[in-house]
Amino acid sequence: MTTTSLTKSRGAGHVGDKVFSAATLAAGCLILVVLFGVALFLVIQAFPALVASPDKIQGGEGFFTYIWPLVIGTLIASVIALVIATPIAIGVALFISHFAPRKLASGLGYVIDLLAAIPSVVYGAWGVAFLAHEISPAYNWLANNMGWLPIFQGPASATGKTILTAGIVLAVMVLPIITSLSREIFLQTPKLHEEAALALGATRWEMIRMTVLPFGRPGIISAVMLGLGRALGETMAVALVLSSGALTASLIQSGNQTIAAEIALNFPEASGLKVSTLIAAGLVLFVITLGVNMIARGIITRHKEFSGAN
């Protein structure tokens, strides 16, 4: 019968189809397994530290007393980075999308992307060898003139290896992330909105304030959140730049520490319960960044659905 040859599959091609689709499916599932494994192995290895008697943990007062200052230190460094990076990144994104000459724009975007290509350890080396040294006079000035603010309380660190320096280095590192995402969103602003604003006599800034920024607000928020995720987990810059210590309110003294840097500095020599403690710290960091990233992704997907941009 001729009809069966159309519906019946046979030969090597049939097997190939099965094998190939099974392979792709397996690869996809492997990713889920790996991510599940990340959580599982971290929990297993961290478990001894979570149940150990408090006096065995570093500091002698239990895991939560140990991790608490680190969480605060991580947040301080990330917030400094975002406060510095966000306005500059939005400015750069606007410059590339709406101000720069059209021919230059993509080239300039590539230059900013180069910032993301430089390895983090090189940023750390730059921060400790160049930035910390150059910026310490400014810290002295802040301590002398703004010392009444708790965050600028003196005496300023003589080496400049402070959490503020680390925050500035982190700001440079998250800048390209926030810039490239905001730029994408700004470029998606409906052309008709922009032209309508200009036709009504708006200046370029008024056009941006009335059409581009309102359209891009969810995108900017999620870009900042993704930048936050990066800043929270960034290790080497902080490990090299910050001269760590106990939690202090002053940003221009040495002190404070972040989770990631604490792990990097102590893990290579750690053994026994210390390893578990550090892996537990990593688990805490994982949970925090996971939460931040999921919120950011959630905003992006929700925005995609009703923006009609594409």
């Binding site: 689709s21 996809g28 494994g37 410059f95 750390g124 370029r204 290790t235 490990a239 996971l290």
Partner: protein
């Protein structure tokens, strides 16, 4: 009486109340001169001159515009100044980093034997001699370079098949199923895993399976794969999605099987984008420090076996040479080696980035006719 009508050139009513075209240049010149004068009073330096002049320029242009053109135009000028200023401010650290690495790294790189010797047997005593008696600087980055290349190659071998097959599943077989949506979501989540957590995961997994304290190049490669796979999936997925559906349908119409269609039609069409995405992913993980630090340790000898023993890599080499100099009393030789290694690392990353662009251009599908 002869009246000659001399044409009077008046400014058009349309351009009345506007600054002359040369206004920015005039203000810039004034700002530069004033800036130099102010800086001369408090001690001149080029960086301060640029900052003061920029502030004077913005203030002058906005003020002039406020007087002549009114508040709305002045606000527009202010916004333009701020936006351009933000861009220039973003370029500062880029140039500063590249300049610092070049100036500090070139002496180290030009040192004979820097690329071909390891740190085996190089102790603080040799560095003290270098500083005090001018003996030649010993030690190099050969072991770290080998380690970086081996770990990265192994990570690429693990990530590319997994990442590419996953991307194919998502685009060709997924069809918006729950599993495909879950994979997309978790790949996004994986993109955000901090690099040190990826390192801890690999370490924890090998501690649990092989034995406590397992630190080899292979563990580091697994850690880097966790960071690399999501990047490969995302970029390959984007590239596969833009392959026109007509190509697939034409192949199906000729009776070609789905897997043959994917291998012979879809992948060759998208290969340029996929290859450049993979190159960018390699460029991203080659500079990762934290995961290697917690998984491969740091060695001073050449180790080309990724499955046993600690392994050095360029980023960890930089890190340890800066943080724990070989000779604590004379850190200069160590920092010279660190900067030399940083220069090599940056050159590698830039070459990979450049390579990605070239690949994208070279293998781009021919779109003649």
């Amino acid at each position: 009486m002869t009246s000659t009508l001399t044409p009077v050139r008046k400014r058009s009513a349309l351009t009345k109340g506007q600054l002359p075209k040369a206004a920015p240049y005039i203000v810039l010149a004034v700002a530069l001169v004033l800036g130099a004068a102010i800086l001369a009073l408090i001690g001149f330096n080029a960086f301060g001159w640029a900052i003061v002049s920029a502030i004077l320029f913005a203030a002058g242009l906005v003020g002039w515009s406020l007087v002549v053109e009114g508040a709305r135009k002045a606000k527009d000028k202010l916004a333009t100044c701020l936006v351009v200023g933000a861009f220039l401010a973003a370029l500062l650290p880029l140039f500063s980093v590249i300049w610092t690495v070049l100036v500090n790294g070139l002496p180290g790189l030009l040192d004979p034997g820097f690329l071909t010797t390891s740190m085996n047997g190089v102790t603080g005593a040799f560095d003290n001699k270098t500083v005090e008696e001018g003996a030649p600087l010993l030690g190099g980055i050969y072991h770290a370079l080998m380690g970086t290349l081996l770990i990265t190659v192994l990570a690429t071998i693990i990530s590319v098949p997994v990442g590419l097959l996953t991307a194919i599943y998502l685009v060709e077989y997924g069809e918006d199923r729950a599993l495909a949506r879950a994979i997309t979501f978790f790949v996004d989540v994986m993109t955000g895993i901090p690099s040190i957590v990826a390192g801890l995961f690999a370490a924890a997994a090998f501690f649990a399976v092989v034995g406590p304290g397992t630190k080899t190049g292979a563990v580091a490669a697994v850690a880097l794969s966790v960071l690399m796979i999501p990047v490969v999936v995302r970029s390959s997925e984007e590239m596969l999605k833009i392959v026109p559906n007509e190509l697939r349908e034409a192949a199906y119409a000729l009776g070609v099987r789905k897997w043959r269609t994917i291998l012979k039609v879809v992948l060759p069409t998208a290969i340029s984008g996929i290859a450049s995405g993979i190159t960018l992913a390699i460029a991203r993980v080659i500079g990762e420090t934290a995961p290697i630090l917690v998984t491969a340790g740091f060695a001073t000898t050449i180790n080309t076996n990724v499955f046993s023993g600690w392994m050095a890599s360029l980023p960890t080499f930089i890190y340890t040479q800066i943080l724990n100099p070989t000779s604590p009393s004379n850190p200069d030789p160590s920092s010279q080696r660190a900067w030399g290694a940083a220069l090599v690392l940056i050159i590698l990353v830039m070459l990979l980035n450049l390579g990605a662009r070239l690949i994208a251009r070279m293998f781009a599908p021919k779109t003649g006719r």
